[in-house]
Symmetry: D2
Subunit: 354 residues, 4 copies
């Protein structure tokens, strides 16, 4: 089959660069358009990015593409998918404008994630929520489609929670995170703020984790998504780590569960992306490590091209009568942003949405 044509908005940022990494080697997709701000326009991608945060150099056919200033009417109509790695304030209007013009937009930007007719997808967890696109079309009358991937911390968290929810039920989740500086984009966190330090606050992050997770883990009903009835409480901090978000998770389950049972359901978990053998799907979405001191961001973040999450230190939860606690790691830019967007698009293709 001939490749689908894709474009990337915000191609020069950290998430955008990693999108080009995944898409420039893709068996189904071909990058035809790179959009960014005026500052980068007119130059080749290679000239405006330093390829610092991609695991391998960007191939020439994409590296030599000329970046264009984003003007909705000038975006080539033949694009089958537009990936958006735009900052929220810019994404807000442009994405809607593009969807109105008929584009399918898969977006990492936060606006509209909680809207009742916008699918917020973590492919192994809630791919069926793509059904919302029907409601979206009916409600909005858009010619195109808008699909969102979750906040990075929520993407990592809900992937690990999914098999626990399915097998044992979940009443409460308490999560304290240690998030890497790449989560704030570039230049992002000043070195003066983070060397020899932890900053115990990330604007709006806790609300996103608490709300998005409940939507993602929610059930598709006739009319929309019924958010999961789970009490979630998050404290999010920034640590001097370059990539990879670590989450310490404490879960109260409905049913009793042994460490062995939890370990088994995490290890054996597979979702639709694995069943459909999507190109960017990790062989195992959840990797369990048994060493007492893993996962660690530096050692484990790039497993399966950054697309799996890693769970370790699975223990009985002592504050709850029934439950489990563990340590969870995922690559914020990969599974948490660029990679998950590509995985969503692949599923949409396979399922006929594109």
């Amino acid at each position: 089959m001939s490749k689908l044509k894709v474009g990337i908005l915000g191609a020069t940022g950290l998430v955008g660069q990693l999108m080009t990494y995944y898409l420039s080697r893709h068996p189904w997709f071909e990058v035809m358009y790179l959009g960014a701000s005026k500052a980068s326009a007119g130059k080749k991608l290679r000239e405006v990015v330093q390829e610092k945060y991609v695991p391998k150099p960007i191939p020439d056919e994409v590296g030599d593409l000329v970046v264009e200033e984003i003007v909705p009417e000038k975006i080539p109509k033949e694009l089958d998918i537009v990936f958006s790695a735009l900052p929220p304030n810019i994404a807000k209007d442009i994405e809607i404008e593009l969807v109105k013009r008929g584009f399918t937009v898969v977006s990492n930007a936060s606006p509209y994630r909680l809207d009742s007719d916008v699918p917020l997808i973590n492919p192994e967890v809630n791919l069926d929520h793509l059904e919302l696109l029907k409601l979206q079309e009916r409600n909005r009358g858009w010619r195109g489609k808008l699909v969102k991937n979750p906040n990075c911390t929520a993407a990592i968290l809900t992937l690990a929670l999914k098999p626990i929810l399915d097998n044992f039920g979940i009443k409460k989740v308490i999560v304290a995170t240690m998030q890497s500086v790449s989560g704030a984009g570039y230049p992002g966190v000043s070195s003066l703020d983070i060397i020899d330090n932890v900053v115990p606050y990330i604007p709006n992050e806790e609300e996103k984790v608490e709300n998005e997770s409940r939507k993602i883990l929610g059930k598709l009903t006739g009319e929309g998504i019924e958010w999961a009835n789970i009490r979630i409480s998050a404290t999010c901090t920034r640590v001097p780590v370059l990539e990879g978000h670590l989450e310490t998770v404490f879960v109260e389950t409905e049913k009793d569960c042994s460490i062995e049972e939890i370990t088994k359901v995490l290890e054996e978990f597979r979702g639709p992306p694995q069943e459909m053998k999507l190109p960017t799907a990790p062989e195992k979405p959840i990797v369990v490590r048994y060493e007492v001191n893993r996962p660690q961001p530096r050692l484990d973040r790039w497993i399966y091209e950054g697309m799996a999450v890693v769970v370790g230190r699975i223990r009985k939860e002592s504050a709850f009568k029934k439950g489990v606690k563990f340590v969870l790691l995922g690559h914020n830019l990969a599974r948490g942003a660029a990679g998950i967007a590509v995985l969503i698009a692949e599923a949409m293709v396979k399922l006929g949405y594109i």
Copy 2:
């Protein structure tokens, strides 16, 4: 009054050095003896330590003291107090030997902390537990006394929990920590393990936090300590920070409490050390910060000479029906080890135990 004579065991380690810092400027105490391993024996303190982790240089009268190899029978009998900053495996036998010989030992080492007749003291929290010394004398027939300060993370945690427990009751505590590398001593954590990384495991730390906190927050009864009936669950991690342990705390209270009420009881909390105006007592044991991104280890760890803890981000706990969550910081070597030992000794003097 003439000063009390004190000695320090393990004077050359990180905790020992900070003990010399507090004690060399002390209005009541005079350092007469410095004990360490054979390797340092025969040299002046100044020659064997680099004074790296003390806020100010050690004065000459202590810096010029000659360090001696620890041999129980050679420790001068006139010492009124022996502070121990020994590693656990070495502390185990030597401390008992010294107490049998009649010394009063205030120790930072972990062995015996949970013994039913050994006071485990956080001075603002449970100074009345010193009463256990009577039981200790009766049980053991020791001529001296053995008193312990808590694990650093537990010391910081229980100080912040005390006013909440007293005013609102506590059912559950979930705590995820980001602990500094100085908590592992010197050389301690390899730079290869911690640069651009978090290590989500500290041997035995979680058990200490969970158990010691319940003993410290427990009630003195006729026969001993009745441990607090609180479910505590901890996940402890190591982060690339030099000094200061950050704790993200989630508390389920018995009574309902507003943010304002919690803030008020934390801010207004004072304990016996403040009332007795002990020299090393911080004016306020708990400092509340209102900025959204505080406390931070690098900015807040040395407040009140490292003897106060700092609480910030006080919020309603969303996972529990009644409760609070907050971020907590304390200096692990100061409030968590060297300083608290000195503060215990001061209280013992004031209360007539010494």
Copy 3:
């Protein structure tokens, strides 16, 4: 005597904050005016700075001063000295405007530093260059005075070179620096660029070191400054250190010199600020450390309130027939910027220029 009235331009930046630190405790000076950009105007200093990079909190009388937007005509005429910590592009016009209006401006900003009638002063090294002010008055017809302190790296370097130059002559200087991130201001260096990394380039820094050093070490002649006839070559890098610039220095001397002789002239060096007992002058401007692994930025940067430089590892230079190599440390914000500006002003008062 009543205190002299001083103002600070750029009071909210890193250098400006440290100026308020030195000046708010000053026996001769009283801070009357704080100028900054529009963004901070109308708020108290305490509200707009986090006091992160000052060794002690700023006293209330200065912390409560309201910051004003800098408008030359609104700056109070009674100010005896205006300190400038403005960024270069902003400093350029405002400083000239103020000098024309009659103010004495002591500035940390780089523009005009190399002008032949602008004194570029490192007080222990070339205080006599203040004589240029006569030439400045004659040339420019300004009612006020403009005096500059050097680039931070040049300030640290020339202080250590001065006694070597005076005693043994200097033909060549090669210097490779490891500069702290605070040298780039706030937010300055992105954490994504510097964690687990070194950036081997700092814009314009090497030119400043090479040129300014030759002017500072130059001789006052009838007509101006004859730059020192020294070949200087610098490579400047940025390292993951918060404060303190480390310089590895290789010097070819004219006369032969032993390690002992070099050590002696460095240790015994005193300049006019020490002789005049200026309030901010360090007791010893150059501190020599004999340990094989010192100076180190974290351990040595704040010696004498950050106003001395520290020299260690003094060795025979093996590439040159005659010469010496050593490692040099200075606090870039203190001796290299805020503190040196205050020290210059003190000297100007003492010598009758103000």
Copy 4:
């Protein structure tokens, strides 16, 4: 051809692990023996190493090999090459013992590197020095052979100097290094010493750089090596970087040379490993970067599997009449230790020494 059998001494250390990485994928060599200290003996390699500092996991056929305690008489006689990554004090006697027994030992350990009949080889630079093996055989009467790779900093430096020496002559080299913590092995540098800091001293490093470089750049004469007549002066420091040594280099050349000429000879340089197409030889041993802020350790250290060095910031040297200055980076564990040893062995095979 059937593969040559090789063994690795010190297989569990950082350098040994990276040797297993290169050798476990090698077209000519097959790892048959892993020796280490008693502590690791009897376990599979995979169980005793964490594979932290290898770019990809070690394949099963080597990961499952059982590590043996090193006892010279038990090392299998059929090994064609023994690679040594032993610490110097242990290497000293064992290596000689093995050579006497007839083994060919290619060693990263420092003892004997400067001996007049021991080849100290940087393959692109002085492969002809392998001729010394004849002298070695004559002098010592050993049945086997002992060949050394250089100190990591010297290996990186001499590779970059070689084309400059050949084309323009070199009179003086001044080098200031910023070396990564992995250069000190594991656990090596304490995190307490290096976070927010630089340590300006590495024991014995400067002597190694100064002496080994002169031997490597020296000429093979009838009787041995005539060391290069270059004055070399080094200051070596440790910085908070995980892998990769950065060197700031200042060179006085004999002939005048333009930036373009220097750049050209560096870029075009190839040595015997490239001509012989050795499996571990980088396509280009010296990579020139033109960006103003490169090379950087984190971004450039793994180029060509860590086997090339990267040169940037090539400028006219201003302290010398004729000369050049530049910034140089190499991977200390790869080009500087494990990889270079493998490359030496490949060359020895190709040239018939093995």
